[in-house]
Symmetry: C2
């Protein structure tokens, strides 16, 4: 199911942008943006085609279609142990826009939001787009290392409005334990902070690690939490631009709907994207389980292969289909190594630049392994050979 | 092709929101949001299904796929006599977001934009969302009446940054003549103002009226103009959320891309929506011509029928599938008449409220006629009967 034969490189070279196959020179393997090389589940395509065959694409409800909101709520009740319902769900044009919408609703000029360092750039980007200040909170690069909650509490001021949590954490691959989430949630409750919980990676967790949503820890924490999720990572739907925002608290939900711009039709979510996600959640769990089983193997191969290379230290991620090796001992900066790998190994990676992941990402590169055994093995062979010839 | 048999009310009652079939009580005819009752062209559904069958929905380019940008540019070169190219086109998540993006790019706090009165609310909404000031410019309610350009020039101050043009003009149905566009464009050039040209209705023009894009008048005007268009009106694709922004001026294009939020992936345009529009523009001109021919008949029936009712005066629109009759002589306000028609005629209309169309819309109601002969006749029968029994 996740074999090399399944991958259609001809199509990827036409359709996969954002630093991927259609954006790199011929011959380069792009282990860059987190987007799978595999086609989506067939059930998703069938659902889109069934809906399309009626030839009606009228205006959708501002909050999203009921079938979508039911599927998302049902998933969070049954798979995330969350006390929620369709009325708490908003269909959004990507998890990225979901983050922007939460910041628009709750961050005013000068407000502070705590943003882990390192983490994907979107939290900082959206906090600043709403004239807030992103306060960096250093977290370990090692996925299984603990969090310094005293340090975190020390960063909270009267201006702090929000804590931004990305769990599993892109790029380090940390999956937060229930005990960590409880400590974090209790801090938010104590200081009355919104928890923006980015759960886009929550399906991609490697056993024996177990995913918990911070909103499921207890009712008080749930009332402070807004979940943002998306379906590009788990189901390969990046180009459909679709995510969900879930706010169990009615007052927060209302503020989000006002901030959304959905009532004016300036923003909203494409109906076929909603159909695709509904199929993914209702029909494609088997597909996701097979995908995660395959990714577990790819992770092990990547970690083992990279750790054999002189100067590279690669911890094993607990979640996300990303490795984030420390490359400082190679003597190169992340940007230098990116260029070397692109030119000598014909493999594209993402450098750990401050603007992408925060300052603590320096000396690291990010590699996505959502591809076939053959492509991973070929990439490792090329990287190893290029590094040994330096 | 545009017969009553083509309309699938069962599907519309499940899918058509935003004040339409799925939002109104059973038995009510919703002549409200401008969204056709007819299914889309079969070629569009076929194109979506072909693309979907490959099962790849990877990240699209930030500006939109080349096939989309080529189709949009080619349309504007061949049908709008515009000197443009694919590099000038950005795929956007609806014309509404296109307007918001233009305002974000060019309106700063305190800047003024001239907004016709009456016109659809989105200009004012987006100018104010970017902390600008919308300066109302009164225009005639009668589609064939002229524009007072001296009055317009008198409204321009050192703070004025933009003129917002909706052509054809929703809700009055005015199609601007080339001479009017030249005067308007020359004013913008003289005062160095951006022309935000909302052309979402430009396909829906009734002979002998002819559509001209203000950008096609001359090169100087084109350099100041940003075209925003969408495909919900002409092709029934509102739920796909897709539009295009066209900026022939490179510097303006660059500012728009920065304002778009597309590079960060916070915003963007769904790939299937881009596929749908590409098919519409490349394959469905015959469909649009038939649709406009049908709409011409519907307009004539509406205008004739409404003018027979005591107290209603309905000018004939030159474009848009909307009539905007003056109902002041009925003695009711627009909101009162809306309620009467909903309760007694079971027909839903849009009242000419200031928040939807500006202050000069008072005493008017808006009726969309993008439906079948039978549904229009039934609506007119019901309205006539309800009004005669008052």
């Amino acid at each position: 199911m996740f074999t090399n034969q399944e991958i259609n490189l001809d199509i990827l070279k036409k359709r996969a942008f954002n630093l991927r196959w259609a954006s790199v020179p011929e011959g380069v393997i792009p282990l860059t943006a987190a987007d799978p090389d595999f086609p989506c589940a067939p059930e998703i395509a069938e659902a889109i085609n069934r809906y399309t065959s009626d030839r009606y694409f009228s205006y959708a409800p501002a909050e999203g279609h009921l079938f979508f909101r039911e599927a998302v709520a049902n998933f969070h009740v049954t798979k995330r142990n969350l006390n929620t319902k369709p009325d708490c769900v908003i269909a959004v044009d990507s998890a990225a826009y979901g983050i922007q919408m939460v910041c628009k609703a709750f961050i005013q000029s000068g407000d502070e939001a705590i943003v882990f360092n390192p983490v994907d750039f979107l939290f900082k980007y959206c906090v600043e787009a709403n004239k807030g200040v992103a306060i960096p909170f250093p977290v370990p690069l090692q996925p299984d290392a603990g969090i310094d909650f005293e340090l975190l509490e020390g960063l909270i001021t009267h201006k702090t409005k929000m804590i931004c949590l990305c769990n599993p954490l892109n790029p380090t691959g940390k999956v937060f334990t229930k005990a960590e989430l409880e400590q974090l949630g209790n801090l938010a409750v104590k200081h009355q902070l919104i928890i923006l919980s980015d759960e886009i990676w929550s399906d991609i967790v490697f056993a024996p690690n177990v995913y918990n949503s911070i909103a499921s820890v207890n009712e008080a924490i749930q009332q402070q939490t807004i979940i943002v999720t998306g379906y590009s990572k788990s189901y390969g739907l990046a180009g459909l631009r679709v995510g969900a925002v879930i706010a169990p608290n009615d007052i927060l939900f209302e503020k989000l709907m006002i901030a959304s711009g959905h009532q004016s039709t300036v923003h909203g979510c494409n109906v076929l994207a909603q159909v695709a996600v509904t199929s993914a959640l209702n029909e494609c769990e088997y597909w996701l389980q097979n995908f995660v089983a395959h990714l577990t193997n790819m992770r092990n191969i990547c970690v083992e292969g990279l750790n054999k290379i002189n100067g590279i230290y690669c911890p094993s991620p607990q979640g996300c289909y990303l490795v984030f090796p420390d490359i400082t001992a190679t003597g190169f900066t992340a940007s230098e190594l990116q260029t070397i790998l692109l030119e000598k190994a014909k493999v594209a990676v993402v450098p750990g630049l401050s603007q992408w992941f925060g300052e603590r990402a320096a000396g690291h590169i990010r590699i996505s392994f959502a591809t076939s055994d053959e492509i991973i093995q070929e990439s490792l062979y090329r990287i190893t050979k290029a590094m040994s010839n330096l």
